[in-house]
Amino acid sequence: MTAAAPRALEGVRIIEIAAGLPVAYAGKLLAQGGAEVIRIEPPEGDPIRLGGPFPGDEPDIDGGGRHAFFNGGKRSVALDVNSEGGAAVSADLIASADVLLTSWKTPAQLPLDDVDAMRERFPDTLYVSISPFGRSGPYANFDGDSHVIEALAGFSYVTGYPDREPVSLGVDTAEFLGGLYGWVTTLTLLNARAHGEQHHHADISSYETAALTDDHNLAVYHGMGLLRRRFYSRVLGAYPSDIMRCRDGFVSVVPGAPDFATSLGLLIDRPEMIDDPLLQLPKERVVRWQDFDALMEPWLMEHDAAEIVQKAQELRLAFAFVPDVADLAADEHLAARGFFEGPGGEPAVGPPVGLSETPLRPGAPPALGEANDELAASNGGAA
């Protein structure tokens, strides 16, 4: 994994017109693969730059953590796509590019909401739009972030406690999924082009990318008519599957193992229980989960997460830590994989997937408008 390693997407030019997290995430992953990603953003910077976190909470247009994460490895052109001059510069850049990445709803003096006009004007550029609900259908004009999308996608109804309101996760899952599919769709169509198939437009809806991840609740409805509700950190028909307390925190406890009964009996120092139906029969544990908890909890409360997980994994039980961000930042396994090694030696979140020959590489985030002179000045429209 040296700096000299070839870049898979070398020579591919992407124009990204800033339009929220999904577009930024798709552009980031393409940049990690070696594409030249030129991000067009408003002269004052876009919400990702302004959204922090900042060192010492002092706003810094080029120094935000969100900006570092989503825009690493990109170029920045600052201009107003709503002005005539800015739109003209943007059009020249789009015409020079393999791919335009934005949302059809982005306000601009460009016909981003008119696929045919875009195709006519930019016949050689693939236009990939990622929006909350897509370009068609009854919700096309709806808006929403992950919290709203995940409610409609079936996540929220099954997340939380049965006697409380549904709850969103603390991360922007739906918007990341929209960006993930922006990446995968762009790569699919670049590969097709390499075989002579030029496509012009792809319409991605973050709502659909979130809804498609739910086969857990749909499959039990399709097959049995069951309507799952939120029920702590558990799955429906398997136990133990939960986040359980231990002496110094929490452990994640799941049922899969080649021989669960033996492994669990040995884990909790109760070998006499190995032949008990409670350990032997998966369904027995679902039905008598309180009995199972009564067996398990005293042992968990006498042990720390580290020893529980180590012993469990030696016994081929897929128990795991419930780490927080500080634990993960200090994690030996991730360190051994070089996951947090940033482009200039500072820490950064590594790429989501490893490639042995053309590794994805995080890059440094651009200063606002750093590429204006080089890429946009000739048209006079840049800020």
Partner: protein, 455 residues
Amino acid sequence: MKPFEGLRVIDLSQVWAGPVAARVLADLGADVIKVERPTVPDRIRTAYIAQNDTTGNYWERAPYYTVRNVSKRGLALDLGSDEGIAILHGLLEDADVLIESYTPRVLENFGLSWNDLKDRYPRLIMMSLCGYGQTGPRRNSPAFGMGMEPASGIASVSGYEGEPPLKSGNTWVDPFAGIHGLGGLLTALYHRERSGRGQQIDVSMQEGLLQLLGPHFHDYWMNDRLHPGSGNRREGLVRGIYPTAGEDAWIAISVRDDDEWAALARTTGNEAWLDDARLATMAGRHEHHDEIDAAISEWTATRDKFAAMEELQAAGAPAGAVLNARELMQNEHLLTRGLWDAQPVRGFATVPVQRYFPAHVDGEGYGARGPAPHIGEHTDEVLRELLGYDDAKIAELRDAGVIDGEPEMLTPPEARAALIQPIDVFLASGSILEVDEQHLERMAAVVARIEADAG
């Protein structure tokens, strides 16, 4: 022409994350051959059997299995035998992609690791997916999606304020990891077009999931700050999930700027907020969130969740009804957009199967191309077509148990009994809302709509 016509994929993966990546390639035109040991098939075949009926060949009637494996061909192959390994090598001669989801030690033991294969098949792209990746001290730790959500720190930032970390009730982490792997694979495929060389794709489910915490890591590095679960609330936003009319009915609202705030205030009859100096900024609104929530709840409580959503959205305040699985299946927007294809869970019914490549490309979509295969359904066809085997050779392999066999662990009466779900217990505990006695009729209506739309 579909984008990956002509591409051949050997899919050794099981359960969800790997199979879903392979399914996308199949939907996009690739010839994907799903390889299962006839005696120990994909374990997802035993999950939640249709109609809770575990008689007969119940392992062919799991909707979970169907959804992840449509569009593929099925090959039964005992990789525990030398002949089985030889057949796999025969297939790899002409394969473009190999996908597997074991911990690294497994294929190392079979002599099928990347190091064993890379020189023999220089154009091969091998995607290996497991919990923690192919290197590092935790490489062989077993993992499932349901455990990876907490193991990746997502649970630590989720949950009600002051309560323990929380995992979602949906196993989105599997497709999240599998589709990230697919992106790596497609990047490698693009590189191979130019270099002629394949490579290994190392998918750590954990590292895919850590992307979601990107801004959290930077806040920790910059400010030493962590963000434990804060329910539905998020700094800089007005956000909540509010009760609506009906049993266990809710609406999610998330307001990000002053325009959306004004729309929320006006729509819910709280214009006074717009003149309230305490609520002039997002910080001020956050400080008085309880008071705001009480007023919003008062407005939502008497309204239908869909009507409230339409009203708020029309005014410019982002809102979404909280849907259960039935409502998701019936959702008009998703039906209009063609997210589902009608495919059989054979021996049960035709079901709506979601697309895992949902993009509309020049007005067209890429969905399921055919049913999920029975164990070894295409064994003879694959061996004849791809390896040139004749009937005598195939019969010999069948007799030797290389390409045929009973899934013995799945057939004893106690194994069948264990897989019957205790639905009465789910009902009593509150983990399900109800058993919908009309679900087959409702599903058939949705399937009829999908088929009519597909022409």
